[in-house]
């Protein structure tokens, strides 16, 4: 019980008035002037003993009435015991408790504090109130929905654990909004228990709670210092025929004070390889370069550990690294010119991610076996090899191979083929008279050309196109590029699991000078990557990403995923094979059948943003979500629901007290009138 105006209790001194009246003037309640008391004095007094008892009863009524009225003016309200508050306010609450379980909540004792705050919120629930528990990190999970069972709620809080997820307030608040929208209770309320990481709120979230809803924030902890390993970089090199990799770890210090002598250790397959110390300035980052490590035949599991602080989870960075896997590219040329594939092969021989292993064969020597293991086949200004024919190429593509057809002077294509080549080739268009043509349009939405979308990411306009073969693409074909006259420059067709791209001009310098332009090499690399469906093997992934187990294993049989915590997840062949990576550490993925080859490993790390413990002003969040920043921020241990004035206004206990006081006064009047007729004294 609290009072809005406790100073008004000074009015309780008014209780002294009836007491004084009773003590001093209790026999003079009404004075009648009389000429002389000569005769009255001769009449003997009666005993006053009994009168006093009744007198005190009246006195008690008067004092109680004054006390009630004074208490009413002091504006009392219940601070604890939401039951009484709800009863007084006349409405039950629908409370959604949003409990942050992101990785940053593992800092020091933040998680126990958060659990205590959530339990306090549950303890404040009235008998008619209902509460939902939503645990959130990157995504929000509805743990318990709209229940008044405190035991279940508290048990859910007890069993909740800190996850490795990052913080995002948007999904949690959206979920809370949807829960409140379906509630019939009159007082919707959201209690957000979190460490309020700034990175969890971008300000662009379109979340808006209803007008009636209140958002109470319960900030946990305070601005905290943190040391983390946000990233690791690899530099591959070949030495003496063996591939070696140099690991460089970045260390970030988000402390106000410099950290000196921070121990940074590199582990490979669980064994310490090298340990270094580094000084990191306040609010700065530093990098540690370890000695090169030879790569074995199979991917290795590695980890970089740096320092120790209250948030241990971001002090370790996991990765999996294996030897590079080159893409095999077969260039089929006509064979009548020595340098027809010169530019092509030279361009593909450059680069490390991926490494292209290029083989050039004349069309006449190509057999079906030559296509085995090829990621990409390039028909460079030549005819369809007779050894494989259009059908052989089509089967190769349908199995998942990539085919790039570069048109030139020597290119011919069987006219009866309508399935493989995207479109029908027309006669050569000669634009040698004048300046020549240019590439006027690129489909930047295509994955192969997406990298050129950004400004200064590739200038195709400088290339002069002198000749090309017009193509009439099919309805299902996708035009990737056009010349300045609108003619198709590149068109793609998907066939089975593979892809075919038709480039309507040459990839050497015979019909254009594109080969002399800087954009030639990346264009060729992009085509090759795309056709090979190449994805760089990520040394690590971030918590919250989804791994396609089927793609990793290249199998749709039953699969088993072992999480870093040791949990085995069996994925049936009928299931899609998508696994959300929600734990920090190394996942192992393998086929379920016995005798399966070596498992694949996936390293999963925290979102680097989670290491940034910079706090968001809770009022900013409240203002954005409710449109008003007036909602109170609760203390950690006892989350207040609303301001004292609002609570008092809702409960309006003063009204009942005032009525009680007036009733007592009326009763006192009636009783005293009655007594005055029957008793000698008042």
């Amino acid at each position: 019980m609290s009072f809005l105006s406790p100073l008004l209790f000074l009015g309780l001194a008014a209780i002294a008035v009836p007491i004084l009246v009773h003590l001093i003037q209790r026999e003079r309640s009404r004075v009648v002037e009389f000429p002389s008391l000569m005769f009255i004095r001769r009449i003997p007094y009666q005993s006053v003993q009994r009168r006093r008892i009744r007198h005190w009863f009246l006195l008690a009524m008067r004092a109680a009435a004054i006390a009630l009225i004074v208490a009413a003016f002091a504006r009392p309200f219940f601070t604890s015991g939401a039951a009484a508050a709800a009863a007084a306010s006349g409405g039950s609450r629908e409370v959604v408790i949003l409990l942050d379980q992101s990785a940053s909540m593992g800092y020091g004792d933040h998680w126990p504090q958060a659990q205590a705050a959530a339990r306090a919120a549950i303890a404040d629930l009235g008998p008619n109130d209902r509460a939902s528990l939503v645990l959130f990190g990157r995504n929000a999970e509805e743990h318990l929905r709209s229940t008044s069972d405190r035991g279940r709620l508290e048990a859910a809080i007890d069993t909740a654990r800190v996850t490795s997820g990052s913080t995002r307030y948007g999904p949690a608040l959206e979920l809370a909004e949807s829960i409140l929208a379906q509630s019939s209770l009159s007082r919707p309320e959201v209690i957000l228990v979190s460490d309020f990481q700034k990175s969890g709120w971008t300000g662009s979230e379109e979340v808006r709670l209803g007008e009636q809803a209140r958002l109470t924030t319960v900030p946990i902890g305070s601005d905290a210092a943190n040391l983390s390993v946000p990233s690791v970089a690899f530099a591959r090199a070949e030495s003496a025929g063996q591939e070696r990799v140099t690991v460089t770890a970045g260390i970030s210090n988000r402390t106000g004070a410099a950290a000196s002598g921070v121990t940074v250790a590199l582990e490979i397959d669980g064994h310490p390889v090298e340990t270094k110390t580094v000084d990191v300035g306040a609010g700065a980052s530093a990098s540690v370069v370890f000695a090169p490590v030879s790569l074995a035949g199979s991917p290795m599991r590695g980890a970089v550990r740096a320092g120790s602080d209250s948030l241990a989870s971001d002090n370790t960075f996991h990765f999996v690294i294996g030897p590079s896997q080159p893409l095999s590219v077969l260039i089929i040329e006509n064979g009548d010119r020595a340098s027809s594939s010169f530019y092509l092969s030279r361009a593909l021989s450059i680069g490390a991610a991926p490494v292209f292993r290029v083989e050039v064969l004349p069309a006449g020597r190509v057999t079906a076996a030559a296509l085995d293991g090829r990621a990409v086949v390039i028909l460079n200004d030549t005819v369809v090899p007779q050894g494989i024919g259009v059908d052989g190429l089509q089967q190769y593509v349908e199995r998942g191979g990539g085919l790039l057809v570069a048109v030139g002077q020597r290119t011919t294509w069987p006219p009866n083929d309508a399935a493989l080549l995207p479109g029908t080739l027309g006669s050569v268009i000669d634009r040698t008279s004048g300046r020549g043509g240019a590439i006027g349009y690129l489909d930047y939405g295509h994955p192969a050309l997406e990298v050129f979308k950004a400004p200064r990411s590739g200038d195709f306009s400088g290339a002069r196109i002198l000749r090309y073969r017009p193509v009439e693409p099919g309805p299902d074909d996708r035009v990737l590029a056009r010349f300045d006259d609108g003619a198709v420059a590149a068109v793609e067709r998907r066939l089975g699991e593979g892809r075919v791209i038709l480039w309507t001009t040459s990839l050497d310098d015979s019909w254009n000078d594109l080969v002399l332009k800087p954009v030639y090499l990346p264009l060729l690399h992009q085509f090759a990557r795309y056709l090979a469906s190449y994805e760089a093997p990520a040394p690590w992934r971030t918590v919250g990403q989804v791994a396609d187990v089927s793609a990793i294993l290249k199998s749709r049989a039953d699969r088993i995923v072992v999480t870093p915590s040791g949990t085995q997840i069996r994925i049936a062949a009928s299931e899609p094979g998508l696994v959300e990576l929600d734990e920090q550490g190394v996942y192992e993925i393998r086929a379920a059948e016995s005798g399966a080859p070596t498992s694949h490993r996936l390293a999963v790390n925290l979102d680097p943003a989670e290491s940034d413990l910079t706090r968001l002003d809770p009022q900013e969040l409240v203002a954005a979500v409710t449109g008003s920043a007036a909602t109170a921020t609760a203390a950690v241990a006892v989350p207040a629901e609303q301001t004292a004035a609002e609570t008092e206004r809702q409960q309006s206990l003063w009204w009942y007290l005032l009525l009680g006081g007036l009733f007592l006064l009326a009763a006192e009047m009636a009783v005293s009138n009655r007594l005055s007729r029957t008793e000698r004294f008042l």
Binding site: R28, V31, V32, F34, P35, S36, M38, I40, E679
Partner: protein, 302 residues
């Protein structure tokens, strides 16, 4: 308790008189009506009746010689009439604070004023000399009796205010020393004192052969004590308070008052003092009748 008013002499209610505000008008109104109502009374006209003969002395008006007696006796006698034997009427007016009590419109003081004014008017009509002495614990105003002092007497009564506690013995003793000539003394008071003490205070007034008429003025509440609610009763004169529950006090109080009145009546009667208890509810006729009968007795005695 009180006697009935004389038939045909019912006068205006004291409450109505209280609205008139002019004592002379009140007195004339009451007395004229009273006299008209009593015109057959045996006491009427006493003041102009023949009293006695005396021998003629030089200087007497020869018109007053009784020629019939001269014819029988051959001596000159002069007729003397009662009207010629003027009397001093002094109103002894208690204006102690207790006289200010009023439970129903007319206070005892006002009632006493009406009474005094009426009697003074009567006296003035009979050529008596009229004076007044007001007193509480001491003498407040003294207007000696005079045939010209009627208006002064009325004015004095009009100004009288019941403001101070009263006491009978001291002022009455001083008055008794003061009177040099016998006459009629009209004492109006509420007599809140022990009957013996009252008598002791009054007795000296009779020493010179004064005819003393005592009017005991009481408010109906003083007699009936018909209060309803339990209250603290405050003495008007002393300011003392006593808690009183009228219901349980009433009988005892009434018995005490009756006893007091009876004691006064008995004591005054023992000393041949006319005593009349007046209730402020009653018209003034009974009081006037009491006065006139007293006046008649005085004449007979003389």
């Amino acid at each position: 308790m009180q006697g009935q008013a004389i038939p045909g002499a019912r006068f205006v209610d004291p409450k109505v008189l209280a609205r008139i505000g002019n004592l002379e008008l009140v007195a004339r109104n009451v007395v004229d009506g009273f006299i008209n109502g009593l015109h057959r009374a045996p006491f009427f006209g006493a003041s102009i009746d023949f009293a006695e003969h005396r021998g003629y002395v030089a200087g007497d008006d020869i018109r007053r010689v009784d020629w019939r007696l001269y014819a029988r006796t051959d001596r000159y006698y002069v007729k003397q009439y009662e009207a010629d034997t003027n009397t001093n009427l002094t109103i002894l007016f208690d204006i102690s604070k207790s006289m200010g009590f009023a439970s129903q419109g007319v206070s005892k003081l006002e009632y006493a004023c009406f009474l005094g004014a009426c009697i003074a008017y009567l006296a003035q009509r009979q050529r008596d000399r009229v004076g007044i002495i007001t007193f509480d614990s001491e003498i407040v105003t003294h207007v000696p009796p005079s045939a010209k002092h009627f208006n002064v007497v009325l004015h004095t009564m009009d100004r009288a205010k019941a403001e101070r506690p009263g006491q009978l013995s001291a002022p009455l003793h001083r008055m008794a020393e003061h009177f040099r000539r016998r006459g009629i003394l009209l004492l109006i008071s509420d007599f809140y004192d022990d009957p013996d003490a009252v008598l002791e205070a009054v007795k000296p007034l009779r020493f010179l052969g004064n005819d003393l008429i005592v009017f005991h003025v009481m408010d109906p509440q003083e007699i009936d004590f018909s209060f309803d609610e339990a209250s603290a009763f405050q003495d008007l004169e002393t300011g003392d308070q006593v808690p009183v529950v009228p219901d349980s006090f009433r009988q005892q109080y009434q018995a005490l008052v009756r006893e007091h009145i009876e004691a006064l009546r008995r004591r005054f009667a023992e000393h041949r003092i006319d005593y009349a208890l007046l209730d402020t509810r009653e018209p003034l006729d009974r009081a006037l009748f009491s006065y006139l009968s007293s006046r008649e007795k005085l004449m007979r005695v003389r």
